[in-house]
Amino acid sequence: MNNHTDNSNQLLGVEAKPNQALPADPNEKILALRDLKLFFPVKTGVFKKTTGHVKAVDGIDLDIYKGEVLGLVGESGCGKTTLGKAILQLIKPTSGAVYYQGSITNQLPIDLCKLSRDEMIPFRKNLQIVFQDPHSSLNPAFTIFGSLEDPLKAHGFSKKAERRRVIGDLLVSVNLHREDMDRYPHEFSGGQRQRIGIARALLVNPELVVCDEAVSALDVSIQAQVLELLLKLRAERNLTYVFITHDLSVTEYICDRIAVMYLGKIVELANADDLYSHTLHPYTEALLSAIPIADLDRRSHRIILEGDVPSPLNPPSGCPFHPRCHKRIERCKTEVPTLKAVRSDKGMHMVSCLLSE
């Protein structure tokens, strides 16, 4: 971790010192999450007393490197979408830090969680999001131009002609036509709307884009189009993606590294190839075995998990996965495992399981 001086929380405009003591990373880090937590209070009773917390994100440590596609994978309720929004400060985290080290601060780390709403605005240029639902991600009352020009206005594009040029260029780069900016969302198909959503995310030239289930609501054949597009744009613009999904087949194809989440914690983090060939965590194993594969030669031996995902209000003691785990031992009921690196020749592979310690 870099030196976290008191300067790091000052407003921009201060002369940034050239970064010192950068650890020897293979790539530059752009974001570093440290013990990030997001708890939603549960209020019951007439007086709305807080009786408990939904631990949506429960202590995440994660580094995101520049230019990579990091997959956040898990089933519903694991906290992946909440984590995506917490990174972008769309929901304020309850505790922990999101250190940003990118071009805006000249590689000096700044904790985004400590910024006020106004201080966050210049950073919003660099951290963008693409949403899941192509039908509600665009305002039905405005043309595409109308929807997209306000963000440009807010970030310095004062001339209308300039805005039209930027939007037109972006539409072309997502394989649509320049004239499409004067049409309404309902005139486009789901796949096209999703591409417009991607164009919107790229409006002010971000460094990092969170793709929140960006292809999940699309037809299978259109998914392939959008995935191709995302990869092309990454190469052209040197983007970093945080790719949130529940579909492990897609992550195998598009991601460099994958983090598997369960009940608000990361249970396994590895390079994509490594995750699939040397799966270490029992949950990841069960997840992979459950996926129906469109290949008749590979009928999987399914590991059927017992029971359902427990409620994040009341996670089990010890390892949160132990009630459903097919490999559990006595210790799992009481000891809480932590995310630890396991020696691997294919790069770092981290697992949160007592069996791997």
Binding site: A224, Q225, E252, I254, Y276, S289, A290, I291, I293, D308
Partner: protein
């Protein structure tokens, strides 16, 4: 053998008349659902697969009708033409639930939130069987137990919101199977569920199929589900079945350009990052503005002049049929 057929659909045409226009949602579709076997109808959104299910159950929206074709259900009393029964009549209501049952996509909204789960399962039994209340209660407990819901005596008195998504879908299946239907129609039953829950539901459906010899018609968009569950497959595109056959025929030896393109566009687990995924160019045409002749022609790499006419169904083997006029060029 003809004995094996539970449900037979011949040249079905269903048109939708909303917005003062005519949408030819299903344009001549034929298939058989066999006893003890699963037929998967695969297609993307807008191809008409859900409307097919609704046509069979006579549950079409008000502004639509079956234009042509026949739906024959082979009941114990002999074949019955379902399409000729009046939509809101007594005969079809006797069949729905008791002989042909349907489960829907979204378990969250398919159950009534103000009645207990036990009550909703019992409703089907009260309607279709001659059991008395005590016998019904025992049957409900037995059904819940078969579906893998723990402590059924307690849980039958709980409300839908107290169950998780996977459990709710099992309750739906319990309602559907309560009267031992001959045919089960499942419209994307696991799309709204997690992958691990999906696996549980599939195991359950397989077991039911083995035990009761139910004919299952499973509608899905997921080729993986087809590979896992189907005995027979029908691939739909824009209201027509473009390829049909056993699952070996269609998945190992796909002949229709759409089937091939579809299989080539999905990332398959285990093939890593080197796999070649090719998107299908273009997009699904507007339902009101369908291409003349073969609907896939505008997006097809093999299209010629001949494709301006709707191609006939060609049988390339006893089980495998394709609706394409360019078969030589493809091979």
């Amino acid at each position: 053998m003809v004995d094996d057929i539970a449900l037979s659909v011949r040249d079905l045409k269903t048109y939708l008349y909303t917005n003062n226009r005519c949408n030819k949602a299903i344009n001549g579709v034929s298939f058989n659902v066999l006893k003890g076997k699963t037929l998967c109808i695969v297609g993307e959104s807008g191809c008409g697969k859900s409307i097919t299910a609704l046509s069979i159950m006579q549950l079409l929206p008000d502004l639509s009708r079956i234009e042509d074709g026949g739906i024959t259900y082979f009941s114990e009393k002999g074949p019955m033409r379902l399409d000729q029964l009046p939509r809101k009549g007594v005969e079809i209501r006797k069949i729905r639930g008791a002989e042909i049952a349907m489960i829907f996509q979204d378990p969250m909204t398919a159950l009534n939130p103000v009645f207990t789960v036990g009550y909703q399962i019992a409703e089907s039994l009260r309607q279709h069987s001659v059991l008395n209340d005590k016998e019904i209660k025992l049957k409900v407990i037995d059904l819940l137990h078969t579906m893998g819901i723990p402590m059924p005596e307690v849980r039958m008195n709980e409300f839908p919101h107290q169950f998780s998504g996977g459990m709710r879908q099992r309750v739906m299946i319990a309602i559907a199977m309560s009267c031992n239907p001959k045919v089960l129609i499942a419209d994307e039953p696991t799309t709204a569920l997690d992958v691990t829950t999906q696996a549980q539901i599939f195991t359950l459906m397989d077991k039911l199929k083995q035990e009761h010899k139910t004919a299952i018609m499973l509608i899905t968009h997921d080729m993986g589900v087809v590979a896992e569950l189907a005995d027979n497959v029908a691939v739909m595109y824009m209201g027509n079945i473009v390829e049909a056959g056993t699952v070996e025929d269609v998945l190992r030896r796909p002949k229709h350009p759409y089937t091939r393109a579809l299989l080539a566009s999905i990332p398959i687990l285990g093939r890593g990052r080197q796999q070649n995924i090719k998107a299908i160019r273009g997009s699904t045409p507007d339902s009101y503005d369908r291409p003349k002749g073969c609907s896939f022609a505008p997006r097809c790499d093999y299209a010629t002049q001949a494709c301006d006419e709707m191609p006939d169904e060609i049988y390339i083997s006893a089980t495998h049929s394709v609706r394409c006029s360019q078969l030589e060029a493809i091979s």
